[in-house]
């Protein structure tokens, strides 16, 4: 034999149980409470905007992609510059005449740059 209620008694107990549970778990009924809760959520959301972790993931992803592209571009430029420098060093060793021409061209360009700078400074 079991102590558990049966039939109508079970229904009565379940109804009573549900009624009591509803009373225990009743949400706040004041409309002002809900307005305040909404405001608090929105304030926390606004105040969190400056934090890195609060940036929407879409923006974070776009930022990371842009940073990645920038690193690739910078890397390829650096590589290109290094390749050019190596090639010029090789040319200098292999062909001293070409090296002289390069030195003259470099000096001329420097002079043009110095001239532009002088003009800009009004001297």
């Amino acid at each position: 034999m079991t102590n558990e209620p049966q039939g109508p008694e079970l229904v009565r107990d379940d109804n009573e149980l549900t009624r009591e549970l509803r009373a225990i778990y009743a949400p706040p009924f004041d409309a002002a409470y809900w307005m305040l809760l909404e405001q608090r959520i929105m304030v926390r959301l606004e105040s969190g905007t400056g934090e890195w972790w609060s940036v929407p993931e879409k923006w974070l992803r776009a930022g990371l992609i842009a940073a990645g592209i920038a690193v690739i571009i910078a890397g390829s430029l650096l590589l290109r510059t290094q390749t050019q420098a190596s090639r010029m060093a090789y040319d200098t060793l292999a062909n001293p005449a070409a090296a002289d021409a390069f030195e003259v061209a470099r000096r001329d360009r420097l002079t043009e740059e110095q001239e532009t700078l002088r003009r800009l400074l009004g001297r």
Binding site: L17, L21, A23, Y25, I41, P56
Partner: protein, 178 residues
């Protein structure tokens, strides 16, 4: 999801705060009910709701507008509430036993039956307590509860059965003593 809500979700995904505020307004009561079913008191439920909405805002771009926003949000709320419950258990391991006290606005706080029922609820495992409240008080279906709590539907059914059976026994005992 209604057309209006879909429009609100899309606007919120574009970063319109007012649209998100409207979504909060529409869903905060139900979100609170879900959280309250899982945590032990009003304050924790409130914290869970706030955490959940902040998390939902940050994860909005992962939400597909064809989904039901409410169901998606409820899973987030349930996770936030379960997280708070776990943290509380760790914190209070050596302190007072868990209680389902809800100090604010209970008109029948003094009722002995209700108080003893509260105590009985406190002795139920978190999951069983959550299931019975989500089902009997909030009217969620077993499948919805299973999805929210990350358990199979069958487990939600058996949890409900055990929780009801336990509380019925307590009710019978109280009645015989009063």
């Amino acid at each position: 999801m209604t057309t209006d809500e879909r429009a609100l979700v899309l606007a919120a995904q574009r970063g319109e705060r007012e649209a998100f505020s409207m979504l909060v307004r529409t869903h905060e009561r139900r979100a609170y009910a879900v959280a309250r079913a899982i945590v032990v008191n009003h304050e924790d439920a409130e914290d869970a709701v706030q955490e959940a909405f902040l998390h939902a805002y940050r994860a909005l771009d992962r939400f597909l507008p064809d989904q039901a926003f409410g169901a998606w949000l409820h899973r987030i709320v349930a996770n936030a509430a379960l997280d708070i419950t776990r943290r509380r258990k760790v914190r209070e391991a050596d302190e007072l036993p868990e209680s389902v006290a809800s100090p604010f606005r209970d008109p029948a706080e003094g009722s002995e039956l209700r108080q003893r029922l509260r105590d009985a609820l406190a002795t139920l495992p978190t999951r069983q307590r959550s299931v019975i409240v989500l089902h009997d008080v909030e009217g969620f279906k077993h499948a919805e509860i299973g999805e929210m709590l990350g358990i199979p539907e069958g487990t939600a059914r058996s949890d409900l059965h055990y929780a009801r059976s336990h509380l019925r026994g307590v009710l019978g005992k109280i009645r015989s003593e009063l």
